[in-house]
């Protein structure tokens, strides 16, 4: 395998939000590299900074209250901080597009589906009105929207939740971006349509070498689609590795906890009775990234005083596999 080309590089990114009670560290010292033709999954607790990381890459953090306080983002070796807003607009949608997490607040309620998708197409590709309409219908069919001819003239409130999500996907794919930031792209879809959308993304990657950052909380989706995985907790990266290792042999207790809370279709249940799920007790402390020790210590079954006092560095635990945990050895060989 020839070395894949790094396309999007995030290096030491830190983002803060100002709040009444002082600033909140949303992302702290995150580094990740997305290669051409790669699917890199990002998983982690709600509020751990996944969306903020992706939004920072597009320079879409609302400022104020948000601010990138450290780090850099480069696309194809070009530092995006050196570009002005006009240059950035040419990159967004065409070079690097995002499927936003929340379709309802990202779609404009007073524009039809066709008007919203058409905007990006006319901006980046141009063409006659008919060309643009044809391309819109083409992407609507690509994302498996039935009756594209009817839907193109409808408004967001006339669509089901899953259709709105597919409209967001269609918008992001309309200009064949080289980098796709997909933030929870299939949460509102049933599993058969989800499978079709993910097959579509894999196909884009294979045909056009699209690099995909796949933010998702569905670990089954990660297992079936990603090449590599980054796990985030409390604004920091805690583990990173190839998908088989990360899911088959996780070396961070948080990753292990995540895998353990996943409901399973094969799990034996008492007939007629509900089945409880395994929780990670407690919740993420505010500003976990600013604690002197490990941000997960308060909830971690392996933690000791040292974990609370001193932050664990990244340690290489396998081929391309790193973990920020003092007890990474103890996790070796035990089944998740």
């Amino acid at each position: 395998m020839s070395a894949p080309k790094p396309l999007l590089q995030i290096d030491g990114l830190s983002v803060e939000f100002s709040a009444r009670a002082g600033s909140v560290s949303a992302v702290d010292d995150i580094s990740l590299t997305l290669h051409e033709g790669e699917i890199l999954a990002v998983v982690g607790e709600s509020g751990s900074g996944k969306s903020v990381t992706a939004l920072s890459a597009l320079r879409l953090i609302p400022d104020p209250p948000g601010r990138i306080v450290a780090g850099s983002v480069s696309l194809d070796g070009i530092d995006l901080a050196t570009l002005d807003e006009a240059q950035m607009r040419r990159i967004r949608g065409k070079e690097m597009a995002m499927i936003f997490q929340d379709p309802m607040s990202s779609l404009n309620p007073i524009l039809t589906v066709g008007q919203q998708i058409g905007e990006a197409i006319s901006l980046h590709q141009g063409g006659t009105k008919q060309d643009v309409r044809d391309r819109i219908l083409e992407v609507l069919e690509l994302v498996r929207i039935p009756q594209a001819e009817l839907r193109i003239d409808q408004y967001p409130h006339e669509l089901s939740g899953g259709m709105r999500q597919r409209i967001m996907i269609a918008m992001a794919l309309s200009c064949n971006p080289r980098v796709l930031l997909a933030d929870e792209p299939t949460t509102a879809l049933d599993v058969t349509i989800q499978a079709q959308i993910l097959a579509l993304l894999r196909d884009l990657r294979a045909r056009l070498g699209t690099a995909i950052l796949l933010i998702t909380h569905d670990l089954g989706v990660v297992a079936e689609n990603a090449d590599r995985v980054v796990v985030m907790y409390g604004g920091r990266k805690v583990e990173e590795g190839p998908v088989e290792l990360l899911i088959g042999a996780p070396r961070h207790p948080y990753t292990r906890g995540l895998l353990g809370s996943m409901p399973n279709l094969d799990q034996a249940l008492v007939p007629g009775r509900q089945g409880r799920l395994t929780e990670i007790q407690g919740s993420v402390p505010i500003n976990a990234a600013r604690l002197p020790g490990c941000g997960f210590a308060a909830r971690c079954p392996f933690a000791d005083d040292h974990c609370v006092a001193v932050r664990p560095p990244f340690v290489r635990v396998g081929d391309g596999h790193i973990s920020a945990c003092w007890k990474h050895d103890e996790l070796e060989g035990i089944q998740p």
């Binding site: 509020g47 039935p146 009756q147 009817l150 259709m163 599993v191 249940l269 919740s283």
Partner: protein, 327 residues
């Protein structure tokens, strides 16, 4: 024991918004039939899981039961009273007993009101509580769903997704309902927070004797929380029955394909899994396929499926499937 909720023959259509030009030229109105005659029952203290393809009408069913939409036909018996066409004034006392939690905790909370006010509002409306008594009741609700009473005066953006979903649950719980419609309540949560919220829902159900209509896409979660399951396809229920039977021995080809498409974590199991890929034309809800609505994509389709609507086949123990050739 009679059911708490009994829906029969429910129909809901939406007319397409037409441009002024289309209206003036009298172009025919295209209607989407979102729900085409479905039957559902939910017993007291029971969870019915509702699954199905995106756009098949699940949320519309929920909105009709809540009477946020008025059905075009059918009956909705809630505790024996038909609320399908009931006037708002007659409906009012029943509204307290029917509550809802939506998928999107962000969109369903007003960003400019404190979360304490958001939870207190329905409570004040339905119970007449005010002032310190209201505040105390809200504080107790907060504690019941795993939030702290000192968080009452904060705003929604100060909470994480899982916490916002707890706020939504506290809000629904306040008026002491009998039935809560949960429309994808955990879809936006990561798996560890999802586990906490699902366990909380099950505890509350035991404690207050609640009934749930649980709409979701994650089949494993539905399996954990439901006693019975209904599967919808294009506006119709195609299979329904006790959870253990539907998941172990699905009889409708659509249910079978749905179960086979669920992502699998374990690499070894994945290699052994038989996946059914649904090909064929996507059907249109404004012009549904003749005969069996699933026939354009069914791997077992026979000539009769294309012309004759399949009967409901029952095993006599509450498991039904609408198919000419049930599995």
């Amino acid at each position: 024991m009679s059911a708490l909720l009994e829906v029969t023959g429910l129909v809901k259509r939406f007319e397409q918004t037409r441009s002024l030009f289309d209206q003036l030229t009298k172009k025919p109105v295209k209607a989407v039939q979102a729900v085409s005659g479905i039957d559902l029952t939910i017993g007291a203290n029971e969870t019915l899981g509702l699954v199905g393809e995106s756009g098949c009408g699940k949320s519309t069913v929920g909105r009709c039961i809540l009477r946020l939409e008025t059905p075009d036909a059918g009956k909705i018996l809630f505790d024996g009273q038909d609320i399908a066409k009931m006037e708002e004034s007659a409906l009012r006392p029943l509204r307290r007993r029917l509550q809802v939690v939506f998928q999107d905790p962000y969109a369903s909370l007003n960003p400019r009101r404190t979360v304490g006010d958001a939870v207190g509002e329905p409570l004040a409306n339905f119970t007449g509580l005010k002032g310190a008594a209201l505040r105390e009741e809200v504080a107790l609700l907060f504690e019941r769903v795993g939030l702290r009473r000192d968080q009452l005066d904060r705003f929604p953006h100060e909470f994480s997704g899982g916490q916002r979903q707890r706020i939504g649950i506290a809000r629904a719980l306040g008026p002491k309902p009998d039935l809560i419609i949960l429309d994808e309540p955990v879809s936006a949560l990561d798996v560890s927070v999802q586990a906490q919220v699902v366990n909380l829902l099950m505890d509350l159900q035991d404690e207050f004797g609640l009934s749930y209509l649980f709409i979701a896409h994650d089949l494993a979660v539905v399996r954990h929380i439901s006693q019975r399951v209904a599967v919808m396809y294009l506006g119709q229920v195609v299979e329904a029955g006790p959870r253990d039977i539907v998941f172990a021995q699905p009889r409708h080809p659509y249910t079978q394909s749905l179960l086979s498409a669920a992502p699998i974590l374990d690499a070894q199991k994945r290699r052994l899994a038989k996946r059914i890929i649904l090909g064929g034309d996507l059907p249109s809800p404004s012009n549904p396929p003749s005969g069996c609505r699933f026939h354009t994509r069914c791997p077992y389709v026979q000539p009769i499926c294309k012309t004759v609507a399949p009967p409901s086949v029952s095993d006599g123990a509450g498991h039904t499937a609408n198919c000419h050739f049930p599995l």
